[in-house]
């Protein structure tokens, strides 16, 4: 069972995140960059399936040089090797362009299963499994809170409002995982040391056979025209409950014509 896990380095969602006013792309250089939190669940799931069924876990990322930190994190958790697509021409690529690059990279790898987090905390689009399934002609099993791989079939419970859908598909398939699926392990000291020796292959767009003019900001399929900080809210009212808190709350709702 060969598994490829897609990871993305993102600006830490717990710190202040910005767009770069020079070209309206995510300001990555100045940010506190971390592995997308949701990807850790996908890595954990990949390791679980590999440990039960054998095979290898390959980490695949598209991102600048600094994304090696995200790769090391995945390798230190226990993934076997990594492919890092890095090319200056990629700067400013949108989700569609990135999916074309990932699809090209996946086409050079052997996989039965592709795993990824159900969303990246920076863009929050949750579309990569759909885009890759469409490009690669493989089934999309997205939004999983549970994954079972039996023979050549993958089955998931797709999380929905108030329940789940049971969805199954033949392998190879792409599965995305929510944070309800498992509890990701912390890298052990041994894992961190071992990660330093694991192979990380760097690939350029030329290595993937992707025409650089089809990616990056210049040929993106959508464009950010402008951005601004949310206008600050007017100073709110704050009262301290002295036995009348509920009354004041209800009075406020009444003043807003809510009750």
């Amino acid at each position: 069972m060969n598994i490829v896990v897609l990871v993305k380095q993102v600006p830490d969602s717990g710190s202040e995140r910005k767009l770069d006013p020079s070209d309206n792309t995510v300001a990555r250089a100045s940010a506190d960059n971390v592995i997308n939190e949701m990807d850790e669940y996908a890595i954990e799931e990949a390791l679980t399936v590999r440990d039960a069924q054998g095979g290898e876990v390959t980490v695949l990322t598209v991102g600048p040089d600094s994304a090696t930190d995200a790769i090391r994190k995945a390798l230190s958790m226990g993934a076997d090797k990594a492919v890092h697509v890095v090319d200056d021409a990629l700067h400013g690529s949108d989700a569609l362009q990135t999916s074309a690059v990932l699809a090209a990279a996946l086409s050079q790898l052997e996989y039965d299963l592709v795993l990824c987090g159900a969303e990246a905390t920076d863009s929050q689009m949750s579309v990569m499994p759909a885009l890759l399934a469409e490009r690669l002609g493989i089934p999309q099993l997205s939004g999983a809170r549970k994954l079972t791989v039996e023979g050549s079939t993958a089955k998931i419970e797709r999380q929905t409002d108030g329940g789940y859908w049971a969805v199954e598909a033949p392998l190879p398939a792409i599965v995305s995982t929510w944070d309800t699926i498992n509890e990701p392990r912390y890298p052990s000291f041994k894992g961190i040391m071992a990660a330093k020796k694991k192979p990380v292959e760097t690939k350029s767009l030329a290595d993937l056979g992707v025409d650089p003019s089809t990616v990056g900001l210049g040929s993106a399929t959508s464009q950010v025209l402008d951005f601004a900080g949310r206008p600050p809210k007017g100073e709110g009212v704050k009262v301290t409950d002295e036995g009348d808190g509920a009354q004041k709350f209800v009075d406020y709702l009444a003043s807003q014509k809510i009750v």
Partner: protein, 321 residues
Amino acid sequence: MAEVLVLVELNPTGSGVRKTTLEALTAARALGEPSAVVVAGPGTAAGVKDALAEYGAATVYVAESPEVDDYLVAPKAEVLAQLVAEKSPAAVVIPSSPEGKEIAGRLAVKTNSGFLTDVTEITADGTATQVAFAGATIVHSKVTAGTPIYTLRGNSVTPEPAPAAGAEQAVSVSLSDSAKLARVVDRVVEQKSSRPELTEASIVVSGGRGVASAENFSIIEALADSLGAAVGASRAAVDSGFYPHTFQVGQTGKTVSPQLYVAVGISGAIQHRAGMQTSKTIVAINKDPEAPIFELADFGIVGDLNTVVPAATEQITARKG
């Protein structure tokens, strides 16, 4: 007038369309004349056609087949791609559910078009508004390739009736093999609730770590019920096992944008703000006067939720008589 395709999102729990569909029809009118697209099992369109016409659908494309609901996402994208090729619409607008965003993505690949997800407004020139980074940044974007595809975030647009013809037009459905790979074998409802759905509720009452136990969430539910609200929970409350993950509001949960958001016993970490910052009015109840949630609140009460919330519930219920 240019035609704009609007994908109909059906109510999963019963008959009729979701409010998000009416919102999408309303937003689509900025771009042209909306046509509704029903992709569902046989006999579905008959029950929803009138509502679609009332909210501005000049045409209702009916793509009914027993197969389309058997597979995840791909069939709907395929039907829409077929219509985009036949009708050359000015744009496509899809409600921004998880499935809606995935349909938009597949459609974008199929039609070589750009797409924008979770937009909150669309103007006549095609410019869309999105909120980024936990609601802290407001972005204006435009699609620059192919047929612009938008997914519209729930509760961003107020549905307004604009009666139109709603002329039915049948669309033949013949799915490719690649649309029939991920089979939906069962749909399981675990939590039946009479409360409104979290992302479309006009009022949301959420509890956090301060609620202190699963049992005590009953006071959150009681307040919600007195207001006809949905119940939400912060990640801290969900991680502590107080309330199911389905109801989590925040970065790794649902994003809500109701008229009124009541945060009870929630400190207001960035994780949580990401899911509720765009609410129209925010009320916070917290015993810690320094809790960051008060920075967001239009009205804040520093006090013990265990006394304030039940008393407020009682008064609201009494007011309703």
